[in-house]
């Protein structure tokens, strides 16, 4: 509101000179880019180390084996109930169908662990980023993983490929 109604004699805002606000906004954006680069490169954000023999460590070993394509090692983390229903060859076929998960740029964040006697459930948040579209696609969702302790070792008690539970009968 620079003036009362009627004849207009002045521009509605600021001067026509080089706008200082643009410089400030540009500086802020540049600073944000630098901070983002530092955060992305400098912060480790590598997997946490869990106590050996814990359910978390068992799942972590399974996931690392699957992520590196070591299907035999991943299969070795399944419980007897799962291996009775699914042979290594079947698991390999399942993995071939679900291998797209390796391209999703996922991060698995452990939310909590519920241990009851010889059974445990891991609640995991999956943060996912995939290319495509103008901005890529980033979203998060939750998965639960069941484990069972057999002969003192925690084993995964469902047919899991990556983080997705897949039906039998392959």
């Amino acid at each position: 509101m620079n003036e009362p109604s009627g004849v207009m004699t002045a521009p509605p805002s600021g001067s026509a000179a080089f706008p200082r606000s643009v410089v400030l906004i540009g500086a802020a954006i540049s600073a944000l880019v630098v901070i983002a680069l530092i955060v992305a490169v400098a912060l480790p954000n590598r997997p946490t180390e869990y106590a050996a023999g814990s359910p978390e460590a068992a799942f972590q070993d399974f996931y690392e084996a699957w992520e590196t394509g070591d299907i035999e090692a991943a299969y070795g983390h399944f419980s007897s109930t799962v291996t009775a229903e699914m042979s290594p060859a079947e698991y390999r076929r399942m993995d071939a169908d679900w291998s797209w998960q390796r391209d999703q740029g996922r991060r698995l964040v452990l939310l909590n662990v519920d241990v009851t006697a010889d059974r445990s459930v891991l609640r995991i948040r999956v943060d996912q980023f995939s290319e495509g579209g103008l901005a890529g696609e980033r979203y998060s969702y939750e998965r639960s993983v069941r484990l069972v302790r057999e002969r003192g070792t925690w084993l995964i008690d469902e047919p899991l490929v990556g983080i997705e539970s897949v039906p039998y009968q392959y």
Partner: protein, 565 residues
């Protein structure tokens, strides 16, 4: 600036701002997400390159979007800064209004969504619900980017309005944005409060699924609380913006209170409030009737509280919002002029009558149909029939309570001031709507009834006509009564319209400026002191009257204003 250049600059600015905003959102989201994970998260798998990929894409978007946006927005700024005709035309252009309105609206929509999600997370955390896979840092990032974009465009438009006396599209697009968002905010606020009441009452009376230690209802409760806060914020801001536009009428150059969009906003709020309260009260009455007839779904006190007492309590926020808007609108009309007050009351009465007649028509048609079926012995007189009849009668009761008083007042006004009341738009629109809706309902029902009769006469399938035709015939009867009654009034009004023009108009040739009436300023614009003269500008078909009016405005002496109505 010519139209093509203006269109190019604003479109490219909008697209490049979108690219820049997406890049900034991703950058902020990655920074906040990585910091949160580094500070407290337990990463059990993956993770190494996720943040880097996102940062790479975000930097690419910012690097491409920011220079394109900066260059084009600087060129836009050169266009609208200054006091020459070019700058003035740009600030008055519909393209600029559309750009500022559209970008502001998109940014506000994303900001409101992010605020809803974030508050849902906060309330959920406070109430101890499971947040699931939600990542609040993403919503914080969206809010941090959307809010400044919205604020800048909103502020820019506010300055334009108060500096340039905008008119036509430049003015109404801004007004549309204001009142549309006020309506959205109000619906979120009132709907959220209603949901909170429903959830808490359900817990209090131990409704099925809400007692016994179950706490799943905390999840919808947190969402309802989030909608209340966001709705209140949206509504408060837009209502305050409208209040300032009204108080700055002299600077803005037009009285917002006289605008059709403001009247539409008030009318829409009253319509929604009446409809919501009508449906819930009808539902409650129906349950009461079923209780009396002994055919209710529940027989204990908890069921009575849930089905009979609960619905009206849940509708209270809608009733309060409708009443407050009606009172404010009426007070505003009274403050402007007797003519404005009459217009407000007229529109409210016709809206009430419209809602009432819909309830009446639907309830009566269904009741008649069922009664035909019973009379023709194609439906048994059993508990299910009584269960349905309670709902039909409840609709009729609510419809009658709304329509009879409203229509009585309308008819009294038509008798008291026939020249005005029989030719105003609100009344004419109501009559056309009633006749049109009744015919639209009657025509297919009549066609179906005739088809079934002819088909039976020609030896078609031997299904009982009674069960097929009861409802269609009831619809035809009710719709015909409504159509005939309102068509009679409409035709009478149309016949009386020709000789009774609002005032003696002396048309001088094919194109002339004609004086209609001279009156005190309070009738036209209460905020602009002095006197006023209402004029009608006429011309041959195809004449650009808006341009002529603009040319007239250019030549007005200082202190005089020519306004559109």
């Amino acid at each position: 600036m010519d139209i093509a250049k203006r269109l190019y600059l604003y479109v490219v600015s909008a697209v490049s701002l979108l690219v820049l905003s997406i890049g900034l959102y991703n950058l902020v989201a990655v920074v906040l997400g990585e910091l949160a994970d580094a500070l407290g998260a337990s990463i059990i798998g993956g993770g190494g390159s996720t943040g880097r990929e996102q940062v790479s894409l975000a930097i690419a978007l910012v690097a491409v979007g920011s220079p394109v946006f900066a260059v084009h927005w600087l060129l836009v700024g050169r266009g609208w800064r200054g006091s020459d005709d070019t700058a003035r035309n740009d600030r008055h252009s519909a393209i600029r209004a559309l750009h500022l309105g559209l970008v502001g609206t998109v940014a506000l929509a994303f900001g409101a969504y992010a605020a809803l999600e974030l508050l849902d997370y906060v309330f959920g955390t406070l109430l101890g619900t499971d947040p699931g896979g939600a990542r609040p840092s993403d919503h914080v990032a969206l809010l941090l980017v959307a809010a400044p974009v919205w604020w800048y465009h909103q502020r820019r438009r506010s300055i334009d309005l108060r500096h340039d006396r905008l008119s036509r599209a430049a003015a109404w697009i801004t007004r549309l944005q204001r009142y549309a968002w006020a309506f959205v905010g109000l619906v979120l606020l009132v709907g959220g409060v209603s949901q909170v009441i429903e959830t808490l009452l359900s817990v209090l009376i131990g409704r099925e699924g809400f007692g016994g230690g179950a706490d799943w209802w905390l999840v919808p409760l947190t969402w309802s609380l989030a909608t209340v806060v966001v709705g209140a914020g949206l509504f408060w801001f837009q209502a305050d913006d409208a209040r300032r536009a009204v108080s700055d009428a002299e600077t803005v150059g037009e009285d917002d209170r006289a605008s059709a969009l403001r009247a539409t906003y008030f009318g829409a709020v009253i319509l929604v409030a009446l409809s919501n309260v009508g449906v819930t009260v009808a539902s409650s009455l129906a349950e009461l009737g079923r209780w009396v007839l002994g055919v209710s779904d529940g027989t204990d006190t908890s069921a009575f509280l849930e089905l009979v007492v609960g619905p009206p309590l849940v509708a209270i926020p809608f009733a309060i919002a409708g009443w407050l808007h009606w009172a404010a609108w009426r007070r505003e009309g009274a403050g402007r002029s007797p003519v404005a007050l009459a217009a407000v009351e007229r529109l409210a009465l016709h809206l009430t009558a419209a809602v009432g007649i819909i309830f009446l028509a639907v309830g009566t048609a269904q009741l008649l149909g069922r009664l035909f079926e019973v009379a023709l012995a194609v439906a048994a007189d059993n508990d299910f029939l009584r269960f349905e009849l309670a709902w039909f009668v409840a609709q009729i009761v609510v419809g009658a309570v709304l329509w009879i008083p409203a229509w009585t007042l309308v008819m009294r006004r038509r008798l008291a001031t026939p020249i005005t009341e029989r030719h105003v738009t609100a009344g004419r629109a109501y009559l056309y709507l009633a006749v049109g809706a009744a015919l639209i309902a009657a025509v297919p029902s009549a066609a179906f009834s005739l088809y079934r009769v002819v088909d039976t006469l020609l030896g078609g399938r031997g299904v009982a006509l009674g069960s097929d035709l009861s409802i269609p015939i009831a619809v035809v009867i009710v719709a015909s009564v409504i159509a005939l009654y309102h068509a009679r009034l409409l035709l009478s009004d149309l016949r009386s319209a020709a000789p009774a023009q609002p005032s003696a108009v002396a048309v001088a040739g094919a194109s002339a400026i004609v004086e209609v009436a001279a009156q005190p300023s309070a009738v036209v614009t209460a905020t602009v002191p002095g006197v006023s003269l209402a004029l009608t500008l006429r011309g041959p078909a195809g004449t650009d009257l808006e341009s002529v009016a603009d040319a007239l405005r250019e030549h007005l002496p200082p202190g005089l204003v020519l306004e559109d109505h």
